[in-house]
Amino acid sequence: MAPLTLPLAADDRHLHWPWLVVALAVLVVVLMVVWAIGWSRRTPASAAYVAHAARLRSLPRFRALVRRRVVLGVALTLTALVACTGAVILAGRIQETKRIPQSESSRDIMLCLDSSGSMITIDYEVLKQFEQIVAGLKGDRVGLTIWSGTAVTVFPLTDDYDFVQQQLRAAEAAFATGDTFSDAYDKFTEGTIVNQKVQSQVGDGLASCAQRFDRSSQHRSRSIVLATDNQPYGRGVFTFDQAAAYTKSRHIVVHGIAAPTTSARPLALAEFKRDVLLTGGTFSLLGADGSVPTVVDSIERTEARRIQKPPIIQVVDEPHLGTVVVGIGVGLLVVVWLVEGLLFLKDRDPA
């Protein structure tokens, strides 16, 4: 499969209202010019006239005050300009067009467990192993369906791993007792047996699991982990062969886990193995110890197809720059004002 290259993080910063920035900048400049003109030709309408004030200019203290005033004035102007710049930037709304590439792992794994009494310990082991697998997954979706006479979805395909873990632990707890008469088991498998004469229908279970897959239009790697002893009781809708053919037609791979007891029935075992291999999956007959290493291996070997989705284009406001600039400007302005006030208080005539 060719590696899919996505245009990663082609972030594009731009202003939402550039005209506002221009208008405000022009306004600031115009205000400064007006202020400067007004300052230079300020009409002394209410002024009090003083003569011979030129003498002041020869005083050393006057020159010191002028120097201080120039420094303070420049500082005030600059900080005010910084604050104004920040405000203008904020007003213009810097926006970032984020292209969020949606590269998802596209493995869908459906745990398809035979919840009949004979499978309890096997189910428990499979669930335990599967819980470990889930911990390492990223972007893949897993679901759990249990079946006996009919199939019940414990949880559908999802990538909410917290929820998955929680559900898996609940399932483990139900199977942990190994006792078909425990309340936990009864409650968990409620609905899987509608008709006491129809139980452990592998064909129906597999077909139901196969139907649980959604997004049929997407090319995803779909697999079912089927754990059963292939000992149907009664008559179901699908035979194992029919279900396997249906599953294969939907491009779903079935990994079969046969309970140790299956080996006692060579026909069932052969059917199980044949049908599983038909879908392109792996088959493993568990030993008496009930270990399930192969399942894990086979699942981990399944190729995670990556699918290409059009990237999500999000336009997000980026107020950080403007806020920081305004903050710096206003902060410095306050500092300069404080300095000015302190100097004024220090030198003020007590009279």
Binding site: A48, Y49, V50, H52, D347, R348, D349
Partner: protein
Amino acid sequence: MTYLQKIRTRLTIHAHRKVLGLLEGEYAAVQIGRGMDFNDLREYVRGDDVKDIDWKASARGRQLLVKRYVAERKHTVLLCVSTGRSMAALNQVGTRSPVSKRDLSVFVAGLIGYLAVRHGDLVSLVYGDADQQHIRPRESTELHLERLLSTIHAATTERSGPADLVALLHYTARVVRRRTILAIVSDEVSVSDELADVLRRLAAQHEILFVTIGDADPTAAADSLTDRPLYDIDAGTPIPGWLRGDRRLRREYAALVGSEEAGLRRRLDQLGIVHERVRDTDAAITAVFRLLERHRHARRR
């Protein structure tokens, strides 16, 4: 008669406060004489008025004698007021509300003029700035004085030319021929060499009374002088508010003003010109009388 009325009111209050009869004998006469007093006889020369011939004395003395009088000489008090724009500024009044230097100069000129009119003397006016100088004829009526005062008041505006006492005094020296009591009212802070020259030149011709008017302190805190923004009337620029109320600047400015005033006094004393610095209307009366007193003593010396 608004200006004179003000002065009269002030004077009355002042006189009652200090000494009654203060208005009498204010200044020393330029020429000693007692009006229609008969002085002596001399021989008739051609051109003497026939009416002046003392027939009896001529009969006794066998020659034609004419009576000689010391003609009653009315003195002329020439008010010489600088009306440059700096005179439209504020005056230093300490902690009191500010008074325009113009009002103060009108008051001082009016006071001297009023004393002269009361004395029966003629009052004339020379005023002007760097751009233009004018003279007003002499007369001895209060109405005329009032007109002169309103002329001073009207001429002293923020839009007048810069004050130039030297130019005004040169103008005075050029246009005034007669001997007068020259009362100079200006706001000089120092005596330049040019001013000293022209003062020396005028002192030879006139009796000079020099009154200077102080300036407001632009470094005073905003509430003690005025809350309005200050404006340098000479340079035509605002005086920034942050200059006001600074302790060290006030100290340095006060020292500068003090040394300048001392220098002015020293220089005028060297020139033999009596001088007073006037600060407000109350002090103006005292200052003018002190000035006249010093002048009288100076004459008798």
